[in-house]
Amino acid sequence: MEFALLLIGNGVLIGLMYSLIALGFVLVYKATDAINFAQGEFVMLAALISAAVIVMAELPFWVAVIVALAGMIAFSFGLERIVLRPLLGRPIVAVIMATIGLAAILRGAGPFIFGVETKSFSLPVGDEPIFLGPFILQPVQVTGAVVSILFLAAFSWFFLKSRMGIAMRAVADNQQVASAMGINVERYFALAWAMAGIVSALGGIVWGSMLGVDVHVSLVGLKVFPVVILGGLDSVIGAVVGGLIVGIVENLAAGYLDPLVGGGTKDFAPYVLMIIALMVRPYGIFGKRKIERV
C-alpha cells in the first residue's frame, strides 16, 4: 500500500512537469487553432539557451531565466510573424506540417549553434532530495509542479475574466469577425505564441536541469499528446488534470502492470486510457465540443 502511495506521489510530481509542457501546446491551440508539433523542440531550445548562459557564459541562474524568457518570447514572435502568419486561414494540416518542419530546423540548428555536447546546470533549489513522510521528492520536480500550478491559476484567470483573454478566445473562434470588432488579430496571435514561449522557457529550464541539456530534451514533447488529449486540446485546466492523470497512470502501470506482462507499459498505458476516455468524452475531459448544427 505504501508502495502504491509512493508511486502516486511520483506520478503527481512528474505529471505536473508534463503539464508544464502541455500548457504551451494548449495555449497555442486555444488561441490560434494550430497544433504545435515542435513543442518538445521549443523546450529544448529554451534549455539550450539557459545552458549556454549558465555553462558557457558562466553567468548566474537568474540571468539565464531572463535570457531564456526573452529569447523564447522573441523567438515565438518571430516565428508567428515569418511562418505562421502567412499560413493563417490555410488548412490545419499545413500548419501541422510547418511545425514539423520547424522541429527539424530546431533539431538541426539548435545543437549546431549551441554545441552538441551535453551540458548540465541545476536550479538554485539544490539537488538534495526532500523527505516528506514516506515520499522522497526531487527539488526540481517540486519546482516544476509549483510553476505548473501557478501558470494554471494565471492562465485560467486570463482566459475567463480578463478582457484580453476574452478577445483572444474571440480571435480563436473567428478571426475575420474578431478583426471587425477592432481586435488586432495578428497582435493576439503573437501574444499567444509569446505566452507559449514563456511557458516553454520555464519548461525548458526545469526539464533541462532535470535531464541535462542536449537534443534529447526535445523527447519530452512526446509526452504532451496523451496529456492534452485527455484534458482537452484547448483547456488550461485540462492540461494540468491530464498531466496528473498521465503521471499517476504511468507510475501505477510501471509498478503493477509491468511485472504482469513483462514489458514497459508506462508509455502506452496512458494512451489506452486516453482512447477509452475519448470514447466516452470525444473532446477530452475539459475540451470544448464543436458545435454542430444543421
Binding site: 497544433i35 511562418v83 502567412p86 499560413l87 490555410r90 488548412p91 490545419i92 494540416v93 499545413a94 501541422i96 506540417m97 510547418a98 514539423i100 518542419g101 520547424l102 522541429a103 527539424a104 530546423i105 530546431l106 533539431r107 538541426g108 540548428a109 545543437p111 549546431f112 499528446f225 496523451p226 488529449i229 486540446l233 506482462v261 513483462g262 514489458g263 514497459g264 507499459t265 508509455d267 502506452f268 494512451y271 489506452v272 486516453m274 482512447i275 475519448l278 470514447m279 470525444p282 473532446y283 477530452g284 475540451g287 464543436k290 454542430e292 444543421v294
Partner: protein
C-alpha cells in the same frame, strides 16, 4: 501532360468518364509507362552498372513510398481522417508476410496480399474510435495505435520472431528467378506501384471515393443523403491500411528483413509530410510528395558535398552537412508551405493551366 481540351467532343457518358478522356493524355501516359519500363537498362548504359544500382535504388525506395503515400492520402486527403499511425500498419504487413514466408514458406504473391489484408483488419480496429472521435483527437488516437502496435510486436515473440524483433525473409522469386539486385527489384516494385496508382485513381472517381470526399467535406450532409459514415470511415481505414500493409511487405522484401524499427512514428510523420507537401486529396500529389520527401535530403547532401568543399574541410563538412541538411529540410518544407499550402500538385496544376492556354495567356 500538357493537354488542350478544345476540339474533342464526347458522345457517350462512358467516354466522358474515362480516366484519360483526351487522346493526348493517353499518349503522355503511354510514353511515361514506356520510359519507366526502359529506365534500368538506360541508366545502366549511361552510368555503368554499380552507379546504376545506386540510382535505381533511390527510385525503388520512392516507388515503395508512393504506395504508402497513396494509401495515407486516401484516408487523410480524401476522407479527412488524420492518421499519425500509418507506419504501424506497415509493420503489421511486414510481420504478417515475414511470418508466412518463413514459417509456411509461402511465396510473395500470397504473403503480399495477406500482409495487406492483415493490416486492413487491424486498420479497421484502429478506425473504430472514429465513430465518436474526430479531427485532431482522432489523429492522436491513431498515434496511440502506433505505440500499442509497436508494443505488441515488441513483446510477442510469436509475432516478432524473438527478442531482436526481426525476421529474415527470403528474396522474392518469379519463375524461379530470385530478385536480388536493385535492377531486378525495380520491375517487381514498379508493378505494384503502378497497380496502386491505377487502383487509387479508380477508387477516388467512383462511388466509394465520392463517399469519402463527401465525408471529408460535410459529414452531416453525407450521412443525411444516405452514406453510412462510420462504415465508410472504416472502409477508408481498411483501404488505407491495406496499402500500408503492402508497403510494409514490399519494404520487407526489398530489405530481406522485417523489423518494426523501420516503421516508427518518424516514418509515419515522413509519410504525412509526403502527402501534405504533395497535395492532400490528390493521386499525383502523393507521387510528387513521395519523390520530394525521399529526394530532398539526398539532393541537399549531394549539393553540399559538391559545393561545400570550396569552403570547408571534410571534417568540418561531416559536421555541417547533417545539421544543415536537417535544417534545410525543415526550412524548405516551411518555405514551400508558405508559398503553396495546397501542395506540389497545386503548383503543378498552376503550371499546367498556364501552359494549357499558352501562348495565348490572358
Amino acid at each position: 501532360m500538357f493537354h488542350r481540351e478544345s476540339g474533342y467532343f464526347k458522345t457517350t457518358y462512358m467516354a466522358d468518364m474515362a480516366l484519360y478522356p483526351l487522346p493526348i493524355a493517353r499518349w503522355t501516359v503511354g510514353v511515361l509507362v514506356a520510359v519507366f519500363l526502359v529506365m534500368p537498362p538506360l541508366v545502366t548504359g549511361l552510368t555503368g552498372g554499380i552507379a546504376a544500382e545506386y540510382y535505381i535504388s533511390i527510385v525503388n525506395i520512392i516507388m515503395i513510398a508512393v504506395v504508402g503515400a497513396l494509401g495515407l492520402n486516401i484516408l487523410v486527403g480524401y476522407t479527412g481522417q488524420i492518421s499519425i499511425g500509418h507506419a504501424a500498419f506497415m509493420s503489421v504487413g511486414a510481420y504478417t508476410a515475414a511470418n508466412l514466408a518463413v514459417k509456411l514458406d509461402l511465396p510473395f504473391w500470397v504473403t503480399l496480399p495477406a500482409g495487406g489484408i492483415m493490416a486492413a483488419a487491424i486498420g479497421v480496429v484502429v478506425g473504430i474510435p472514429s465513430l465518436r472521435i474526430k479531427g485532431l483527437y482522432l489523429a492522436i488516437a491513431t498515434l496511440a495505435a502506433q505505440l500499442i502496435i509497436e508494443w505488441i510486436i515488441n513483446h510477442v515473440p510469436w509475432i516478432s520472431g524473438g527478442s531482436q524483433a526481426s525476421i529474415e525473409v527470403p528474396r522474392p522469386t518469379i519463375f524461379g528467378m530470385e530478385l536480388r539486385t536493385q535492377r531486378e527489384l525495380y520491375y517487381f516494385l514498379l508493378f505494384f506501384a503502378v497497380i496502386a496508382i491505377i487502383a487509387t485513381l479508380n477508387i477516388v472517381r467512383s462511388r466509394i471515393g465520392r463517399a469519402f470526399i463527401a465525408i471529408r467535406d460535410q459529414d452531416i450532409a453525407a450521412e443525411i443523403i444516405g452514406i453510412d459514415i462510420f462504415r465508410y470511415k472504416l472502409i477508408a481505414f481498411a483501404i488505407s491500411s491495406f496499402y500500408a500493409g503492402v508497403t510494409g511487405v514490399l519494404y520487407t522484401y526489398y530489405l530481406g528483413i522485417a523489423n518494426y524499427e523501420n516503421f516508427l512514428i518518424t516514418t509515419s510523420i515522413d509519410y504525412l509530410a509526403m502527402i501534405i507537401i504533395g497535395g492532400l486529396g490528390s493521386v499525383l500529389g502523393s507521387i510528387f510528395g513521395a519523390i520530394f520527401v525521399t529526394l530532398l535530403p539526398i539532393v541537399i547532401r549531394l549539393f553540399m558535398e559538391s559545393f561545400g568543399t570550396l569552403l570547408f574541410t571534410t571534417a568540418e563538412l561531416n559536421n555541417i552537412i547533417p545539421a544543415v541538411r536537417l535544417s534545410a529540410f525543415g526550412l524548405l518544407i516551411i518555405v514551400f508551405l508558405v508559398l503553396e499550402p495546397e501542395g506540389l500538385n497545386r503548383l503543378w496544376r498552376n503550371v499546367r493551366s498556364y501552359f494549357r492556354v499558352w501562348p495565348f495567356s490572358y
